[in-house]
Amino acid sequence: MSAPAPSMFSPAANAMIQQLGLKKGRANLEEFADTLQALATADRNLIAVTSDSRGSGKLAPFGKALPKQIVEVGIAEQNLVGITAGLAACGKKAFGVSPSCFLTARSLEQIKNDVCYSNVPAVLVGISSGVSYGALGSTHHSLHDLAVLRAINNVTILVPADNIETREAIRYAAKATRPVFVRFGKAAMFDVTPAGAVFEAGKAITIREGTDVAFIANGETVVHAVLAAAHLAAGGISARVLSLHTVKPLDTAAILAAGRECRAVITVEEHMVAGGVGEAVASTLLQAGLAPRFKMVGFPDEDTVTGAQADLFRHYGISMEGLSATATALLRRS
């Protein structure tokens, strides 16, 4: 018996989704799997490496269609990363795919040394990242992955928001000549990327313009920032929304513009606030002499409350209502 999955959106948020005409896509995980298979079909040097994770990674069809381009290593993430690095060092476009919680903790030393320090063009894909596994508990959460990888030299860190960004992130990773880490979740996503927006690693995508407050978000939190911005607009507050899909290298120009042009900046992330996107944005602003009103929304340094991803998002204020309230309070403060 499993509890019914709680809804990620309140009735009001659902109404706003309707009002904005947001198109419902699928899980970024599924978009990743299909994109990878299409790329691999065209390039026999593209290899997926899995640690009993081809089911979790939606790569079973890949394995069936391209059995010679998938390597199974069993439940052994250290070996997964070492093998991925070795393949990459020998000319293969190797994608190591494993739940982000294990990939970036169990095998962190392999990521640091075999991939980043050795500078091989390996791609590490952290699936079901953040609190995607929700009620499975903290063993399965990756609220540390961005912090640890931010502290390691020579890795591009991508956190796509929707199917469009996910597809582009994987295409970028397949062509990269240096290490790349991509993380995303497994909930169905709404398309939030504006038509005509160009995905470029290291360049944030502006989803909405605004001057009172800027939401700087990434991954599965972005849609909530978009809804909050629309909700705030009804109350006369103009909110900007940036999808900071690249955590490293950071788009300092977009962050500084937000800090100069908006009265307040709110960062939103499915990650612990320590070492995450919020701290990266804060240090960028402060070092440039900017001090807008500022708030970091994410997971605090505490024993994470239990529940499904939707419960956790709501609990920690990652929702249309939560983010709107945070923005209103921040702007009202004298």
Binding site: Q78, N79, G82, G86, A89, C90, A94, E109, Q110
Partner: protein, 278 residues
């Protein structure tokens, strides 16, 4: 090169390694001396790599998992012409690429190693890549016996047999000592031959200082589908009497007097070989 030529070369390589460590003021002396004969044979007889083919996709690969014994590797590779001997005057210097563990910034180095338990998984990836390409490339790594306590080695041991990587060779520099003392006292890992056999590997036990035996073990192909494990019994500090099997030489740096004594010991031993086999 004959066995005799290589043995004669080994004395010069040991002297070069010791001078290098003395001048750098740091290094892994005992382990360098225990694996030097293995490296001498690999680079001068077994590996299909030359300084001219370091970028050839079909070259053999060597990844030194026990990266701390890089000084022996520096001596062997510089003698083989991968980089000038003068480069070794910069080991551990400010802004030098020649740090205390291998890095790819140095010509001919395949991977950055130094943390233990990394070489074997990397070599699996390399061996898999060669298999996918239908290449005859062989992939070699050198492990330490203390290093085998790292669990990643056993993840890789299992996977290598599963994937039938008969182009993969793991050489164990079995000198039975690690930084704290005897491996059997720190964390016993015997019986190693039975363990690796049980993991599906072809296991060959040899004297790690016997040039003919090591060469045969390295060059005779393993049965089809089996990765090859060479259990090379070695002596930590080999070739310098006062360093042999003495724990403090794990990363002991010789004083000027100790260096002089070690060099003269090696020169005397070399002279003996020259006289004996004329």
């Amino acid at each position: 090169m004959t066995d005799r030529d290589l043995v004669l070369k080994s004395f010069a390589l040991r002297r070069r390694m010791l001078r290098l460590i003395y001048e750098a003021g740091a290094g892994h002396t005992g382990g360098g001396l225990s694996c030097l004969d293995i490296l001498n044979i690999l680079y001068n007889r077994v590996l299909k790599i030359t300084p001219e083919t370091v970028a050839d996709p079909l070259r053999d690969r060597y990844v030194q998992s026990k990266g701390h014994c890089v000084e022996a590797l520096y001596a062997v590779m510089s003698d083989r012409g991968y980089f000038p001997d003068a480069d070794l005057d910069t080991v551990c210097h400010y802004r030098s690429y020649y740090v205390g563990h291998p890095t790819r910034k140095i010509r001919g180095m395949e991977m950055n190693t130094g943390a233990l338990g990394h070489g074997l998984p990397i070599c699996l990836g390399m061996a898999l890549a060669a298999k996918m390409d239908g290449a005859t490339t062989r992939v070699f790594t050198l492990l330490g016996d203390g290093e085998l306590a790292e669990g990643s080695n056993w993840e890789a041991a299992m996977a290598a047999a599963h994937h039938k990587l008969d182009n993969l060779v793991a050489i164990l520099d079995h000198n039975t000592l690690q930084i704290t003392g005897h491996t059997r006292d720190v964390l016993s890992n015997e019986p190693l031959d039975e363990k690796w056999r049980a993991f599906g590997w072809e296991v060959r036990t040899v004297d790690g200082h016997d040039y003919a035996a090591l060469t045969a073990a390295l060059t005779t192909p393993p049965p089809a589908g089996k990765p090859l494990f060479i259990l090379a019994n070695t002596v930590k500090g080999k070739g310098v009497g006062f360093m042999e099997n003495v724990g403090k030489w794990h990363h002991g740096v010789p004083s000027e007097a100790e260096l002089a004594q070690a060099l003269s010991e090696l020169t005397a031993a070399e002279q003996k070989v020259r006289e004996a086999s004329v």
